[in-house]
């Protein structure tokens, strides 16, 4: 027994080294820079700067709005798709699912480049609708991440729940709203986190679709290219904190669901 324990401990060493090198150490560096100024003195000025600078807060708001709308649109499209794929009486379901998942196999910059041409065909000039294009691009990019978790949850719900509801006098809408939707909450939540968080910082899509307003990712980049690592690090740290809070909240509610 003892021997096994020791070897298990030893087995974890490579992972510990990995964690220290690639998670703990970079975080420490980030923390160090965010609380120092260019002379190396400890300061809270960067922290105050974040909350007093209208541009930083405005960019945060803009990113959140972009991410929220993207998530909402993704959810509205993904849920029916996942539902039909999981519960519908369709032949060749797997092939249909493949069609929705397939874009994930292609590098996203290539996909966005293709999308750019398609949008240009319809809009003539992309620069007139930068915000709409951003949402379209983001939705296109993140849709599979919303479909998959919802699909997995739905396919595991036994049909007899729905049938029981129908037998006991609920109409189809009621049965869906009171049985299927609550049971698939876990899938929705994991889908939302998988879309919302990356959508807040994915500035490449904005760049490629010619939206010249910065979101959080590009704002951090601009500080670093102006040799201001301190404010850049501070924004990263605060963004990281926000992401951690969102993740914790969503997993928390997920656990609660499971307990019920």
């Amino acid at each position: 027994m003892k021997k096994i324990n020791i070897s298990r401990k030893n087995l974890s060493i490579p992972y510990m080294i990995y964690m220290v090198c690639f998670v703990v150490a970079p975080l420490a560096v980030l923390l160090f820079y965010s609380f120092t100024d260019s002379d190396g003195k400890i300061t809270f000025h960067n922290f105050i700067n974040f909350f007093t600078d209208g541009n930083t807060l405005g960019t945060l708001l803009y990113s959140v709005v972009v991410a929220l709308i993207t998530t909402l649109v993704c959810l509205i499209i993904a849920y029916p798709v996942a539902f039909i794929l999981a519960k519908g009486h369709i032949k060749n379901k797997t092939i249909l699912l493949m069609i929705f998942i397939m874009p994930m196999w292609i590098n996203f910059t290539l996909r966005i480049t293709a999308l750019k041409e398609i949008l240009t065909f319809f809009e003539k000039n992309l620069a007139y609708f930068p915000f709409v294009n951003t949402i379209i691009g983001m939705t296109y990019d993140f849709l599979p991440f919303m479909i998959l978790p919802i699909y997995t949850v739905l396919i595991n719900i036994d049909d007899c729940y729905m049938e029981a509801g129908l037998d006991l006098g609920a109409d189809k809408v009621q049965a869906f709203m009171k049985i299927i939707l609550p049971m698939s909450k876990a899938g929705i939540i994991s889908g939302v986190t998988m879309v919302f968080l990356p959508a807040m910082t994915n500035y490449v899509i904005l760049d490629m679709l010619y939206n010249s307003t910065y979101i959080m990712g590009s704002l951090i980049g601009s500080y670093f290219s102006a040799y201001d690592w301190h404010n850049g690090s501070m924004i990263s740290i605060i963004l990281l904190t926000i992401i951690i809070i969102v993740t914790v909240l969503s997993t928390d509610s997920n656990h609660k669901e499971e307990r019920l």
Partner: protein, 500 residues
Amino acid sequence: MITDRRHIFRLLLMVIIFVTCTSSLCYAKKKEKSVVLRVCNWEEYIDLGDWDDDEAIDLSDDNVIMGINSMIEDFEEWYYKNYNVRCKVEYSTFGTNEELYNQMNLGDTYDIVCPSEYMIMKLLDEDRLLPYDKNFFDKNIDNNYYIKGVSPYIKNEFETNEINGEKWSKYAAGYMWGITGIVYNPDLVTREEASTCEIIRNPKFNRRVTIKDNVRDAYFAALSVYKSDLLLSKDFRDSADYRERLADEMNDVKKDTINNVQDILVDMKNNVYSFETDSGKSDMVTGKIVANYQWSGDAVYALDQAEEDGLYLDFAVPNECTNLWFDGWVMLKDGIGKDQDKKQAAQAFVNFLSRPDNVVRNMYYIGYTSVISGGQDSTVFDYVDWCYSADDDCEDVTEYSVDYFFNDGSSNKDYVLTVEADQPYRQLGAQYPSENDIKKSAIMRFFDKDANRDINKMWINVRCFNIKDIPVACYIVFGIIALFIAGLLVKKMICNKKKV
């Protein structure tokens, strides 16, 4: 007996060890000296060889230039032949000057790098550069291709520009150079409209022009719009110290200037198709945009590409002012240090790249203009002539002088090209700007710490959404919605509790 045998054995062992040691030492001494050179250059900024046979540049019967191996491999071979030292080049690349600077600060050490002029000034200001040796500037040494071939015009710029009282030429050897200008589609834009930075915010071309996504280039373009009245005035143009005054005006980073430039940049942002990093060239070819503020080297590339697709674009230099830029090789103190072998290899590397046939190879491959004119060697001029001179049966021709660049006063040769009439406004005008255009050029210095902070702040103001722009009504509407949702939640919670 046993001890004796042991003694013999020990002796034998010692002899063997001694022999192997000394022989390996001798071997090490016999082995050639070798040196490792760590080079960091721009991406796609050197000939990588592997040309097709039909790409060979046929200047004359005994002068055919062709890139078979990469320039780096050729250098290693050439260095061994000439200096009897094996040189291993560790070649890496960077995408922007800031990236290089950050890499260097993060602990990457290089021996020789190729940043732009303002970064060279910044590095020199921080005392991180090593001066070139005296014998690097000795024209009598055969292999000193740089000093023998550098254009008199570039040489003069490098001699007259100083930073902290030190001449550039002491620390930097030029590589490529150019100006900024506007690539435009002559079917849709007149030359007059394109010959000013004002085009970037011209509502006639709303959402059909682009500008570089780069603080310095955007600042320069907007600044020349802001100061256009002064820059175009005859008094200013005719003043005796025009070049000095122009350079001072274009390096103006006073607070209220920055504020005014910000307003112009906001106008530009609302008028441009995009702030592009690399898409400008292809968007021009596909016709998404009609004009594009561009570096001259990229302009040549865009014009070439468009021509392959049957679209003829033109290049115009802004009337107000154009940004003269250089990329140059500088040796780093923390890389080379006191290592003379390394220094020799680094200087030989610059010289090898400046050898006329290699200059042609690089220019053909990357499309930019080398600082080398060739001196006594006519290869570079022949190449330009080969590229641009009009066919014999062409009727509409014009004379184009590049004398200022090629003529170092050593010969009576006239460096004048006979080219098709539109070439001065096309590739040739971008690759070798006319003396007239060069006159209205200014070098942009590096921003000091305060200016850097102010200008970055300005850039963020231009690019970011500001929370203060949201009208109060929006706050009220959102507040009401939030209250409503909160109310619903509370109601639900109370209901749930009652049920329990």
